[in-house]
């Protein structure tokens, strides 16, 4: 079973579902000595199977597959319809709201058959029986947590490791319940969770110094997301890349794009809908065509600009070089501390 202490470099590539995730990025992170992730989210089970095959053709190193745990019950249709009406004036196409579980069972079948080194979950904790089944197949199970209570639940379910996601993180909060998205800062979260399980620290980690800090706090590895968004291997859209270089724009938490709390660089769309309802994935499906059209137009003010709080430190550099350089910086920092 894969364990964090087998990593050559203490770096996990974040899954980055919804565009930035590519086979090339996962391969580059794993080949550099970290562990890359494929994002199963928003893809079909067949696409996932194809991506796993492509990744295996590129690298023999371990990798992770990230799967969205099924969302909660359907949202109130009148609330969703009301939000959809508010978007109708934007002049871009809208989708129809739809509740689904992102093909959870089918993707789990692919995972069980393909046996990646790790399967990580976001948006919830799999049942103990499922965790046991995956582990019996030799797959390490990681669960994303944002609060001490979620960490306890994941430990009880039998998770091998916890991905502790601080409020600094870009993209969706991994909270089990979007009605109460954890807002704990990473360093507070790491201290509160303690060492019941190995921990991957996530949220705002952009530099070697940041990696050194989470290792000192007890994490076995640092998960990098925004730090990878400007690498050539990432599928980050052109308008998204452009805004990532405008370093002084603040990030904020929003449900405007998907109906689920996520952190993005504040833009016109995000500011226009400060009270978007919690209705995932219904609102994701409503805004998907709007965002695709805006992305095609290069309009950064109408797309989700997922980014962590320290995105301004992201650099344009091949992912493998970046991972190696950050790990070397972290090692140098820890060695330089006179204690």
């Amino acid at each position: 079973m894969f364990a964090l202490d087998q990593l050559e470099l203490p770096i996990v590539g974040a899954p980055l579902a919804g565009g930035p995730s590519t086979v090339a990025l996962a391969a580059a992170v794993s080949d550099a000595g970290g562990i890359g992730s494929l994002a199963a989210g928003y893809r079909s089970a067949d696409e996932l199977r194809t991506q796993i095959a492509e990744l295996r053709a590129r690298t023999a190193r371990p990798f992770a597959v990230n799967v969205f745990a099924p969302a909660g019950p359907s949202a109130d249709p009148t609330v969703v319809a009301s939000y959809r009406r508010a978007l109708a004036g934007v002049g871009r196409p809208l989708g129809d709201p739809r509740h689904d579980d992102d093909g959870f069972a089918a993707k789990l079948e692919v995972v069980e058959a393909e046996r990646p080194a790790v399967v990580s979950f976001t948006f919830g904790c799999p049942q103990p029986a499922l965790v046991a089944r995956l582990r019996a197949a030799g797959i390490a199970v990681w669960v994303t947590v944002t609060t001490p209570a979620e960490a306890r639940a994941a430990v009880e379910a039998g998770a091998d490791a916890l991905v502790a996601q601080g409020v600094e993180a870009g993209g969706h909060r991994g909270s089990f319940d979007d009605a109460a998205p954890g807002e704990v800062g990473l360093l507070a979260l790491l201290q509160l969770i303690g060492d019941a399980r190995p921990v991957v620290a996530a949220g705002g980690i952009m530099t070697g110094v940041g990696i050194a800090a989470v290792l000192a706090a007890g994490a076995g590895a640092a998960q990098l997301g925004s730090a990878l968004l400007r690498t050539p291997e990432a599928g980050t859209s052109e308008p998204h890349r452009r805004v990532l270089t405008e370093a002084d724009r603040p990030t904020g938490l929003t449900r405007a794009f998907t109906g689920r709390t996520a952190r993005g660089i504040e833009n016109r769309f995000q500011r226009a809908h400060p009270d978007a309802p919690s209705a995932y994935p219904e609102i994701h499906h409503v805004t998907a065509p709007l965002r695709a059209a805006a992305r095609a137009d290069g309009d950064a003010e109408a797309i989700n600009l997922w980014a962590g709080q320290a995105y301004a430190l992201a650099v344009e550099r091949p992912a493998g070089d970046l991972v190696r350089a950050l790990a070397a910086d972290a090692r140098a920092r820890l060695r330089s501390l006179r204690v």
Copy 2:
């Protein structure tokens, strides 16, 4: 001039204005080898002078005095009056709103005359001329910052060190402008600020592991606030102490008690006023009698329960012992890292 690298232990005692701050606590932290703080906030200049004399009678070690920078312009009186009316039904005494600068000039005179090792500022950055005058008197000037922009302003004003306050921190946000309170997590903030000046890291640091992490991130010291609230030397009220042991209550940011954004353990009063206006110190003066009465009644649901996000890790232990133990834990952690 006092510099962080002169500290025997890399620990700063937070000022903890408004009750928990005592001469005994500052003395215990300084005597243990850290540096304790006196809180000038909410005290008169004469009281500050007396406290400095009392502290000097207890210890010959360096200490810091924390001063509130003057608040911005007066709040709209109709907004304050409306909030005051909303509180009238609570059945406890209310004060009259008043705008003041907390005796800034008089306290600065005391500081200049008494020459503590350090003067730290919260709620804003002193003018460069004032920084220069204090430094000319041999007093190191620290400025609390919550964003990279505030850090740049403090460096430009000539500050000797920055107190980088992450969103995890309990009590008031140190933001220069309460209309835009910085919400950056500590580890992201430390990376964004970099090393233009020595940094004291503040926010959610409760353990030796937490201290080790901020040192690895480049801080020269960790500032402890909530970690000290349960020490016998602290002036923490009985109801506040009681709630600090109820580890699973969440914290949240609120303006309900003072009209300025602060983090406290969520209670009835805080939940009842989610949209309290930004009007400091007017609302502080309005609620002060209400809070004093509730405190006297032991009613934890109507007082400000300032606490950082990891307050659940606070322990009841003499402050000097605690500071020494945490510093030893931090050192042991950094030594144990195999790099």
